[in-house]
């Protein structure tokens, strides 16, 4: 199963149309392998981007260099996935018992 160790989900919330345009351009950078959970739509709607670990530094530099505000929504995607899997297994054991 594909793992997502170190991947983060960044949330951008901006009121500037030019930031939205930049985020759309960023999406086109195939080498970064970005996964837009919530696509750049319009100002004041959150844009959520899952960023693979190797792309974190360039993406954060890109955002910061353009003054695009962001927060880290999910610190480590794999940690959440591990928790999710563990919860499923626990529930399954309970169901069986």
């Amino acid at each position: 199963q594909k793992r997502f160790v170190g991947d983060q989900v960044l949330r951008v919330l901006t009121d500037k149309e030019e930031h939205i345009v930049l985020l759309r351009e960023l999406e086109e950078s195939e080498d970064l392998q970005l996964d837009y959970w919530a696509a750049p739509a319009k100002p004041d709607l959150p844009v959520d981007i899952r960023v693979p670990f190797p792309s974190l530094q360039p993406v954060k530099i890109f955002l910061e260099s353009h003054g695009i505000p962001y927060t880290i929504m999910i610190e480590d995607v794999q940690t959440l996935l591990d928790e999710e899997k563990e919860a499923m297994e626990k529930a399954r054991k309970l169901e069986r018992s």
Partner: protein
Amino acid sequence: SSGFDFSTYHTIEEIYSWMDDLVAQHPNLVSKIQIGESYEKRPLYVLKFSTGRTAKTHRPAIWIDTGIHSREWITQATGVWTANKIATEYGKDASLTAILTSMDIFLEIVTNPDGFAYTHSQNRMWRKTRSINAGSSCKGVDPNRNWDAGFGGPGASNNPCSETYHGPHPFSESETKSIADFILGHGNVMAAISIHSYSQMLMFPYGYKDEPAPDHQELDDLAKEAVDALAAVHGTRYTYGSTMHTIYQADGITIDWTYDNGVKYSYTFELRDTGRYGFLLPASQIIPTAEETWPALTKIMDHVHKHPY
């Protein structure tokens, strides 16, 4: 009574098995029909809730689908809870009982079974179908860009590697074609509700064009009632409006096709996120999410029932 835990996420095998249990427990209300099969040959099952046994023509019906984007696990989980709620509330809830006295409800819980199985086995983040794209190493089509309504417009991608790839032609995916064939073949579907996550929105046509739908005002008024009812449960706030104006241009989407094909009450939900988890909503939020979605759904279904057309 089957011991099924609604507050945890389940695999497709577990959901399909539970569907059989539900049918067995409510044989006079619930049946399971197969409307087609997926690219990887999994059955496309729909639960039919019906109290009518003698009608020569199809009764007016409400279509609901969950999980067309496979990684949106909260939607399949909400579909399971909702199916159980319909089965158990019939005969108790006056509004639902009245609806089912004259209408049928069809609910497809795992609308993208290949994608869903793939999220459990290989890649939790998979969204699309699993079909092969000629000339590309990237698999899958976005089944919510694959409908014949504004197909191929700028609100979709022509790149097979994109998460919003529209596919080679409208209804190239059996997962969408099977629904379209079913709705057209049925001929009496009055409402279509397609459930997604996340963003906390309730939207209606259009997504592929800027102009308001002919029924815009009624759809908008009903959406407001529905989101108010939803917010009354746990205080969750939804925005609402046409897809184009609420979020962005989206071409080839389910509800635009249903609307253009005569299904006046066409809505799409974007269920919960609390702004913290995205597609990885913890299982502890399944029941609250489903609980709050239920009054919004019943508000729409009740309106459809009371406003035949």
